[in-house]
């Protein structure tokens, strides 16, 4: 199914946002996009608008909360922060991700030897 690919992508974006919010504390959408850009080192190209789709989804699941505030350069901006439920979810997903990554890593390593 073609939907699966985007599903995985979405999932990873959600995970990245959760992690970012956990690591940096409350952030606005622009800040999150910058952080991901920084970390991905141009490996991941991403329409920054997609961040908002992901943010909405996370908010509907109550994993993050949002609040209007003022940005560094005195702009009104919506700040997102991770909730308790979100922290729990992050732990679960991190573990999941690591497990899958490890498995895939091992599988790929095997192929390389053969």
């Amino acid at each position: 199914m073609p939907a699966d690919k985007s599903e995985v992508l979405q999932g990873t974006l959600d995970l990245m946002i959760l992690k970012t919010l956990q690591a940096l504390g409350p952030q606005h959408g622009f800040g999150i996009a910058r952080r991901i850009e920084q970390l991905s080192e141009d490996v991941l190209t991403l329409n920054e608008g997609t961040v908002y789709t992901s943010l909405l989804r996370l908010q509907q699941k109550s994993w993050i909360a949002s609040e209007w505030g003022t940005s560094d350069n005195n702009r009104r901006a919506r700040f997102y922060s991770i909730t308790k439920r979100g922290l729990k979810q992050l732990a679960v997903e991190t573990e999941n991700w690591e497990r899958i990554a490890a498995v895939i890593g091992r599988v790929l390593a095997l192929e390389a030897k053969a």
Partner: protein, 903 residues
Amino acid sequence: MSDRALTFAAKLKALFTQRRADTAFDEEMTTHLEMLAEKYEREGMSHKEAARAARRQFGNTTLLKQRQRESRTTMFFTNVWRDVRYGARQLAKTPVFTIVCVLTLALGVGANTAVFSVMHAVLMKMLPVQDASHVFYLHTTGWPDGGSQTGDSNTSFSYTIYRQLRDQSGLQEVMAFIPMSFSGKAPVRVGGVPEEAAGDMVSGNYFHGLGVGTELGRGFVQKDEEDHTPVTVISERFWSTHYARSRDVVGKTLFIKSVPFTIVGVAAKGFEGTEGRLPLDFWIPLQSRPEFNAWGNPAEYGMYLTKLNFWCMKLMVRTAPGVSQQQALARAQTVFDQAAYAGVRPKRAGDETYKISFMDAKQFDTQDDSFARMLKTLMVMVVLVLLIAMSNVVMLLMARNSSRQREFSVRLALGAGRREIARQLLTESLLLVTLGGATAWVLALGATRALGTWSKIQSNLQPDGTVLLLTLGVLFLLALVFGLAPLRAAMSSGPEMVLRSSATVSQSSFQKVRAGNAIIVAQIAMCVVLLVGAGLLQGTLRNLLNTPLGQKPQGLLVFGVHPQHAHTKDESIAFFVALQQRLRTIPGVESVSLVSNRPGSGWSNNNAGILVDGHKPNGIEPDQAEFRGNIVGADYFRTMGVQVLQGRDFSDADTASAPKSLIVNETFAKKYLGSLNAVGHVLTDPKGTDPSLIIGVVKDHKYTSITEEAKPMIWTAFAQGGPQNELNVEIRVTGDPMAMLPTVRKVIAQIDPDMPLLDPTTQSAVFEESISQQALFARLAGCFGILAVVLIATGLYGTLAYRVSRRSAEIGVRMALGAQRSQVVWMVLRGSLLLCAAGVVLGIPLAIAAGRGLESSLYGMKALDAASYAFAVVGVAIVALLASAIPAGRAASVNPTRALRLE
């Protein structure tokens, strides 16, 4: 799972904040773009370039906004809303169809709701008391000889029984209550105006024993009963109507029978007492003052507290927890067996044993059977009406939707899923049912009120939660049926149908025609049953109305008077004699008389035991000589318009000092004296004492009700009898009796401003009221019959018209091949007459069965009344013909060339 629930909740919430969320997101996006552009500018791009790069980096904003909007809230409602709008458009496109369907549904469901609401309130609803399953009304099968009781033979008990049950039976509570008078009402005064209010005198544990709370203040306590304290609890309704729900009502004074009572509480909302059809306004603890004797009886007859054989208290009990109903009843029976014989001669061997029983604490203590039967019969009738209505709508929907087959085919061809079509059909049917249901509820509210008024029930009958639930259930079922019935037809239209012509479609619906026929036949059968029932009941009503009364109730005004300040026998007699003389002087009054029991009101004094001239009456054992009695004033028979056959009417000369005289009716004279020549004979009681001279014989006439048989009857003069604390005044006037009422009120107010006229009405109305139940039954049955006929007519017309229009090609071919117009007309008429005949054949046995069930409600009619059956059969035949006339005419006017060219 919970994530999904949270998401759904968030989406639902977003539904209501749609617009705000849109603008907020706009702002968020703009800020982001600006910040991004600033970043690029800082990195060295020109202002314009930076903005463009930012937009590129951000992505398609419009698409994002749309996607955001979609995922922010749920599309379910948007889709439903679209379906609803589409459905509404479809219904608006065929307004006649829609109106017919909605009205049909409203009438069918509304009538059902109303009748069910009344039936539920009267037969099923429990009293609003705590833990009602442990509360019961106490009934008895009888009372020992020598007991005197109130006329409500099943529910009357003596004070001794009440005390002993309370103290010895182990029942948790025994509550007693006594109406203030036979009408249940008593004169009260809140401010300056005297009026009547309904009340009960109750035991101290009445409120807490039943578990009824108060809105305000307190209920009664045991001490109130023991000390007979002059306090009262008023009903929530009385509080609203007379005190405007003022919270300082507690402590105010309410005058009851001119005695000041202090209001100590307001009963909980919804509690209207335990008297069934009469909602109460106030309660007072058991009183010992002479004017508060049970049922407003004169104290001279003995106070209910001390006269041991006076069976006048109604009782309710609450069984103790953990004790079964049978155990409690058995113990109560033992106590009752003892207590019942207080004040009368002890039980002898061979005497009947009287059984007490517990009846569920319903709002209405066991109704008289005829009313319950009437309600059940009406319920069956309205269900039939509903079935007819429902099948009508189904047929209409099927007809309409099969003409929409092309639409469905097109939609299927364009890629609509079957689910979408099903959802849309269901939405349309839901729309119809919602419209119909809402109209039905409004109708039902009005109809319930009307039903209550017509059946003389003043207590609250309005539909409650249970009724609403049932109605919603019925509506839901209807919506399903209406949605699913046309579904098959719609589904069978595959996309390829678009290409077919309508003629071939009509060929394929042979099966549907048969299904439609079956429905019509069933409808006609039900209609026959309803019409036969209506005919039988109308005949009964006609018989009742045409029964000769033997008197002239037209032109008579009647009202009750209860003197407030006449305490002894002599005072009361003097009061009424003076009253009669004063009323005679009013201009326009032809004659005035007084009577104890209003004729036609159902009340009667029943006695037995006489000797005629010291001998057995006409060879009958004196104790077996039963007769009815009434106590009247001078000029009684002249005023009532009853023919005096022998002797004379009572006159002013028949006073306490004159020889005791009485008047008998024909039946009495024939049965107990052997001839009409009864004047001059002397009647005594079986001991030979208390002689009275027969001074007249009058023609038999109706006393308690229109339906009664003539019974032996005597009339005595009130001036020669015991004390009278209430008498009815009958005034014969020229012209409209009610027009005289204001004048009479003024005269009465001059005599005593504190004395209200009790139940003023016309004597004709009293008799009409006595058959109000039968009249109501007949009229409602008639209404349902007519409703059924109208429904059948519309259903039949709709179906036939539709069929003719589908068959126009076929008819065109027939005509092209030489069929005459008359043949075409006959073809259509024959079809509907055949259906009608089949319906009648099926309906008549059903009607016979139904008629059997009605038998006990009929008067002067046989269940197999030929006229009623003929009326029903002719009725449906005419309806069938009328309903098919227009379609037949349309068929005949088919133009063969045009019809064929269309194909």
